[in-house]
Amino acid sequence: MSNPELRKKLAALSFTEKIRILEKLRDRGIAIAKAGLRKGTSPKPSPHERSKAPEHR
């Protein structure tokens, strides 16, 4: 399916369905922000996690 076709299909959804998609997009954005992926780094481990992590050489 081409991009214009996909956009048309999404635009034709009911407002209720579109709102559900908005909520999923928002939740995904929040989850990504919490994980620190937007900075291009993995989340910093807590001091507790650091103490448990195995050492790699």
Partner: protein, 176 residues
């Protein structure tokens, strides 16, 4: 989002606001494909006491504060959605509230700005993302050209529309 609509309707029923219309990305989503957004823009007409000249959003913050909704900067968090309340800054936004479209989502009724008003506001605001919104409306055939033309004329945006059309639609003399 349903809870946001219900809270807005309750605010109107309780006389905190006299009218409202959802604009921004959520409003645009009514007409186009859903676009990720962090917040909900709600334009409100306030039920001001007679003789009061200054418009204040304080009654909204007080009302929602009593209902235990938290604030974050300019946002009030309603059931997980940061909601920004905006008073109309000019006649275009006031008209957009008055002529909003009644609809419902998830079993709750609500009011969304017309596609033509959203396009006119986007044109006036004039950021790249606003122009993309207008193009999305056009792609979906969401705009009534006669209605849009009337709004553009009433609010002095005809020349700006012609410039937009020339630049983005390749049209030399496009009315709407």
């Amino acid at each position: 989002m349903r809870q946001v609509f219900e809270v807005l309707n309750r605010m109107k029923a309780d006389g905190v606001i006299s009218a409202y219309a959802i604009g921004g990305a959520v409003g645009a989503t009514f007409y186009t494909e859903p676009a990720a957004t962090y917040d909900v823009d709600v334009f409100v007409s306030l039920a001001q006491p007679p003789g009061k000249v200054l418009v204040s959003l304080a009654p909204i913050y007080e009302y929602l504060g009593l209902a235990k909704y938290a604030t974050e900067g300019q946002y009030i968090i309603i059931e997980g959605w940061p909601v920004q309340f905006l008073t109309p800054s000019d006649a275009l936004e006031q008209e957009a509230i008055e002529e909003a479209v009644e609809t419902s989502a998830d079993g709750a009724s609500t009011r969304i700005m017309s596609a033509e008003h959203l396009a006119a506001i986007a044109l006036r605001t004039g950021r790249s993302k606003d122009y993309l919104r207008i193009l999305a409306f056009l792609e979906q055939g969401a705009l009534d050209s006669r209605m849009l033309q009337g709004i553009l004329q009433r609010h002095g945006l005809t020349k700006k529309w012609q410039e937009f059309s020339k630049k983005y639609l390749g049209a030399e003399d496009v009315q709407s």
